[in-house]
Amino acid sequence: MAQITGRRPRALATGGSEGLGGAFVELLLASGYDVVSVDRNAPPAASMAVGIICDLADRVALDRNLDAIVAAGPYRLVLFNAGVSATGRFEAVPLEAYRRLVAVNTEAPMVLASALVNADAVNGHLCFVSSLSHFTGYPGAAVYAASKDALAAYAKSVRKPFAQRGVSVTVAYPGPLRTAHAARHAPPGASVERRTDPAAAARHIVGAALAGRAAVYSDARARMLALAGRLMPDLTIRAMRRVIFDRLDRDVW
């Protein structure tokens, strides 16, 4: 495991052990950052990231780790990436899973962002990873959509006040990615090869965050889908229902 030396810029990513978070961590390590990953699982054995093991759904655990996360800064870039989903009919998923989902996807990044900025532990950029569902809806994952909308609104809200402290705020809206998480929640027969490569999405998102842009999509296709959701909201959400909700054969949380 790597030691933080103090000479290199530092970055923090939540959920850095796999998926898009893993891609963020590898990209930043390759770009010369010291990287801290907060995740319920340790980073992969070969990774040079410093792991802080913390289940973000667990308030007590988060509060216990907050000082260590702040102390490992200051960070040039913080990526609030950790997310979980729950797919199925709204009534088929236990309420407890919805609680966990809101805690990981919305509450933890808000608590962390507020604590980090208040402690002056960020000297650069924050990026909140929301979802493309922000521009349409997500029948079959209504609470996931709620959690990601909430995160996007929080990011938009803090953009100005945090700018006064020299911190930029970016919201990322990724579309479908080629990750294990997405595969677990996708309906049967969903095409994997058309999904965006997480490494490409990570490059795109990190570039926008470092440039201080307000919003970024995972790629051009995600941007088009967001536009469709805005221009044709009814058609787009019906399409979402047909390709996701109507095809779900199981409830996953």
């Binding site: 308030r59 509060d63 009919r89 709204f90 009534e91 309420l95 919805y98 609680r99 809101v102 919305t106 509450e107 808000m110 608590v111 507020s114 604590a115 900025v117 208040n118 569902s133 922000h134 349409t136 809806g137 997500y138 029948p139 079959g140 994952a141 209504a142 609470v143 959509a145 709620a146 959690s147 990601k148 909308d149 909430a150 995160l151 996007a152 609104a153 929080y154 938009k156 809200s157 803090v158 953009r159 100005k160 006040p161 945090f162 402290r165 959400i237 019906r238 979402m240 229902r241 909700f245």
Partner: protein, 232 residues
């Protein structure tokens, strides 16, 4: 037969004004944080009341479910999830406890109630009261987040439940209620431009009749209502 209507957050502000409008035309189950003895003088006569503190979502939901059971209501024609509360100030100094409480009371409580009420809402209507703050509000960051969450929930559920239960989210602009004082925010002279709860309740009832699943009651809409008071 009178419709069965549930309204949460019914002891003050928009909820109380909406309850007053429906009184006499509907069977009302009203929910609020206050003890029953305190709430009774505020509520319309013949309305039923249940104590439901949204900052404990599961308890609030189970109290409401128990009250519905006690009343013997097997279905709801309309559930208006209106209860809300917030914190105001620099988002960097918002304590973790306040972030958590704001998400619990505004978002998780609505999820828990939609979850519990779902079987009773077949053929009925679920209305979530959001806020125009959902587009982003620097002084109400966690509140804006929670209210945007309601929008996402409603957009998705409206499609998921289409043909069974109509789901709407209505985003009111600022209303002259005590929510700002409770949140520690003084709107100052801007308060004069805030809608009265009664006007907002009237606009809400009109929005409820619309076929759209998302309505925003913005300032122009309010102005239009102010100059057309006969449109009741």
């Amino acid at each position: 037969m009178k419709p069965n209507i549930l309204i949460t957050g019914a002891t003050s502000g928009i909820g109380a004004a909406l309850a007053a409008r429906y009184a006499g035309r509907a069977e009302l189950l009203l929910a609020g944080r206050m003890p029953e003895l305190e709430a009774m003088p505020i509520l319309p006569a013949n309305a039923h009341y249940v104590v439901a503190d949204q900052s404990a979502p599961e308890v609030a939901a189970s109290n409401i479910m128990a009250a519905l059971d006690l009343l013997g209501w097997e279905s709801l024609d309309l559930a208006v999830l209106n209860a809300g509360s917030g914190w105001s100030g620099d988002p960097a100094s918002e304590p973790a406890g306040s972030i958590r409480n704001t998400l619990e009371a505004n978002l998780v409580a609505a999820i828990a109630l939609a979850y519990g009420l779902s079987p009773l809402l077949s053929g009925g209507r679920l209305v979530l009261i959001g806020s125009t703050a959902r587009r982003g509000a620097p002084l109400f960051a966690s509140y804006a987040a929670a209210k945007a969450g309601l929008d996402g929930l409603a957009r998705s559920l409206a499609e998921e439940w289409r043909g069974r239960t109509k789901v709407q989210v209505i985003h009111p602009g600022p209303v002259r209620t005590d929510i700002h004082a409770k949140a520690g925010f003084d709107p100052g002279r801007a308060r004069r431009f805030f809608t009265s709860p009664e006007t907002m309740a009237r606009l809400l009832e009109r929005a409820l009749a619309s076929r759209r699943s998302r309505r925003t009651i913005s300032f122009p809409r309010y102005l239009a209502a102010a100059v057309t008071p006969w449109l009741r």
